[in-house]
Symmetry: C2
């Protein structure tokens, strides 16, 4: 088949472009070794019982050229108190870097900057304290699992690194790479497991093009995971865990679709980032007019929490507000959330945003004597009661006849998540169509919205 040859040609060309060359590998290795040595030396000096190890894609030679993230884990004995691990771990990490930031995922860690020995290239490294547990199923914290992942992959991945790189870039260009809750895509570890399972990038695509919802991959054949996710990849180091738990329906479908498309019509464009201009306010207003829909945006100060905490709350708020809007009789066509320049946005596109004042309020079935009497007690003196489809009903006045007034008054009654709720409680704006302000980043957001929907 001519597609096969074309796929090979494209993959070869891409690999040449993204595979770090020997010099790059040597530089990264040198920096990594230097950091590890500095930490171990410092630990010795300070009498801290800990040692550093290199994990992640730079340890496994599976990083994409230009995407060098050095991960160093500082391992403490299991019986060290959590407080000591945190204090000593962070102190160690800070002591060896000139420039760093303290960050927080499930645990605090240090994000630091280092130059290579020639002082030419700057590298970024995450320095993460963790416990050296005996077994990956007996963790003290989520990060303790990483060294086990690292061991599992390093023992097996040799010879498949190019396929991992192709898969990672393919995912990046689809915008489904990374398990952060903002993206809900495929983590690097998951990419490596998929390649291990199918033995090559192309074999994976061939299989993925036939994946069904709930597809199950179990490299060690011992999985006990029972959840209902689109994709289930049993963690070889913890049989109760699905490595693909973060993969959303959308990321799952997007990958299947792209696999089919690439196999049917292989093109280099699958390995090039999609570039798009931000949308201008003028273009937005023109688009809205042409669509005939109503855009309503809830705009508020982004709570100061990390994305993995903020995004689930924003998605929860999006769902809860959509429910409220539709329960009130309006119709949502699409929605999305974003955080840009310190502001958080909830966007709703509406097919129906205005309704007559009149509303039918349906009561109990006429045959239900007890409830009928209660209903009549409430309404008989104020409303004409009629029978509709076997039930009592009255005509009442709709409280909100348009979505903007509904949102302005009832936002706080939705399940918004703690931080989002507090921020909205301190104040928010509800803007429609041309009132929506094109602050930083919003143009890209709308470009994606109109492409995605």
């Amino acid at each position: 088949m001519k597609e096969e040859a074309e796929i090979k040609r494209i993959c070869d060309e891409v690999i040449e472009r993204i595979r770090p060359d020997d010099a790059e590998r040597a530089r990264v290795k040198a920096v990594t070794t230097r950091i590890i040595n500095m930490i171990n030396q410092k630990a010795l000096e300070l009498g801290i019982e800990a040692h550093a190890v290199s994990v992640g894609s730079t340890a496994r030679n599976t990083w994409v050229h230009g995407e060098t993230d050095i991960d160093i884990f500082i391992m403490f004995p299991e019986d060290v108190p959590e407080e000591d691990l945190k204090d000593n771990g962070l102190a160690l990490a800070k002591s060896i870097s000139d420039r760093y930031e303290e960050r927080y995922a499930s645990h605090p860690y240090i994000h630091a900057y280092f130059y290579d020995s020639e002082g030419r290239t700057e590298y970024e490294a995450d320095l993460v304290p963790c416990f050296a547990v005996k077994d990956a199923s007996a963790l003290k914290s989520a990060v303790d699992r990483t060294p086990f992942h690292n061991g599992y992959i390093m023992e097996r991945i040799h010879g498949l690194e190019d396929d991992v790189l192709l898969l990672k870039l393919f995912m990046m260009c689809l915008d489904i790479y990374g398990s952060e809750l903002r993206r809900k895509g495929f983590s690097g570890y998951l990419c490596e497991l998929l390649i291990l399972n199918y033995s090559s990038f192309v074999e994976l695509l061939l299989n993925a093009s036939r994946w069904r919802y709930g597809e199950r991959i179990d490299l060690e054949g011992k999985g006990k995971y029972k959840g209902e996710d689109p994709l289930i990849v049993i963690d070889p180091v913890d049989r109760n865990r699905n490595v693909a738990a973060a993969v959303s329906d959308y990321s799952f479908c997007r990958f299947i679709d792209a696999a089919r498309e690439f196999l049917a019509q292989p093109q280099m464009s699958f390995f090039l980032p999609r570039v798009a201009d931000p949308m201008s306010a003028e273009e937005f207003v023109k688009r809205v007019k042409r669509r005939g829909t109503e855009f309503v945006m809830v705009l508020f100060e982004a709570p100061e929490v990390v994305e993995d905490i903020l995004f689930p709350q924003l998605r929860k708020a999006e769902l809860s507000i959509t429910d409220m809007i539709e329960r009130d009789g309006f119709k949502v066509y699409g929605s999305d959330v974003a955080v840009e320049g310190g502001k958080a946005f909830l966007l709703f596109e509406l097919l129906l945003w205005s309704l007559p004042r009149l509303k039918k309020h349906t009561g109990p079935p006429v045959t239900s004597k007890y409830h009928s009497e209660q209903f009549k007690d409430i309404y008989a003196s104020t409303h004409p009661i009629f029978i509709d489809d076997g039930r009592y009903a009255v005509e009442v006045e709709r409280r909100y006849t348009d979505v903007v007034s509904l949102l302005k008054n009832e936002l706080m009654s939705c399940s918004l998540g703690k931080d989002v709720s507090e921020s909205i409680g301190r104040g928010c704006e509800v803007l429609r169509n041309e009132e929506i302000r094109f602050v930083a980043g919003i143009g890209y957001f709308f470009r994606c919205y109109f492409r995605g929907i």
Copy 2:
């Protein structure tokens, strides 16, 4: 209880008003006997093997004063050919009346006018040819059952006639008396069976106020009927038949509700016909404006068929058109049908009657490879395809953005029933709000609509 005394007082007063007095009974009996004699005499003269019997409420003394319908059945031997029954039966009936109309239910019959012996009061009589079958479950036509009903009731109803009269008037004032498909209420025979079963009007009301959906009454305890109707009253002369099959959900609920209301607050008004002025066009327009809804009426020549054929078709059309309107994304709040002055109407009140041009067309799940390929074959070259909730989707243009244009163009694609479809096919008008013309009867129709909903 003071309600009990009040109920008795009201019922006694009503009975005095609606029970035909001895003179009226004698007059009706005389006219009936005269008609029967004329038919039998004529049959003898013409050598037709047939004889007349009196059936229905005048035969059983259960007619409401002023509602005198004389029913005479002309009975033919079972082995007479159907054609002969029709020809000879109608000929006999016509031969004895000066003024009559030929009418048609399931079979043709003669509706004739007779004066009493003093020539003072005019009576109307239905003269219906039927077969004298041996057994009510071995009918040759639906009317053959009537003489059996008559026999069953006449043997048992003596002493309960007043309760039947109260029940009939109670039903009439609720507008749920009569099993015609226009009304879908309680037939006279059904009223009599209910009284036989519960032994009095008040006992019936007490029981009805606790009826559940699917309530089953079986006087002879031999019922085999399996249908799922709101009310099931096994026909004592045909255990496979539900006498209450025509009772709609609405009539069922209306009766239950009125039973409870009357027992809780007995008032004479339950036995007085509800009078209402017709609604004027001005009042209608004002009402519509206040409700904020949109009224759309489909107006066409009423097909020339009897109501029992026309109304099921109109109800079918009402349902089918409602389905189409909602399938297209609009929202129906209420609907009704009517026939007045040679015109038929289908009325729809809409909460949502106009939509943006934009429409999401959802395709197959992404995981369904075969259907996905078909969907892409159709749309890929013309529409941007996106993934929405695990399915492929495209944005298409809505063909009709308002209900009036939808109805003007797509009415004929609905299931309308043969005669309605033919009439609408010859032409119809689709009118909205103030365009709706207040032709004869429409004012009453709207008065009922705004009361009923």
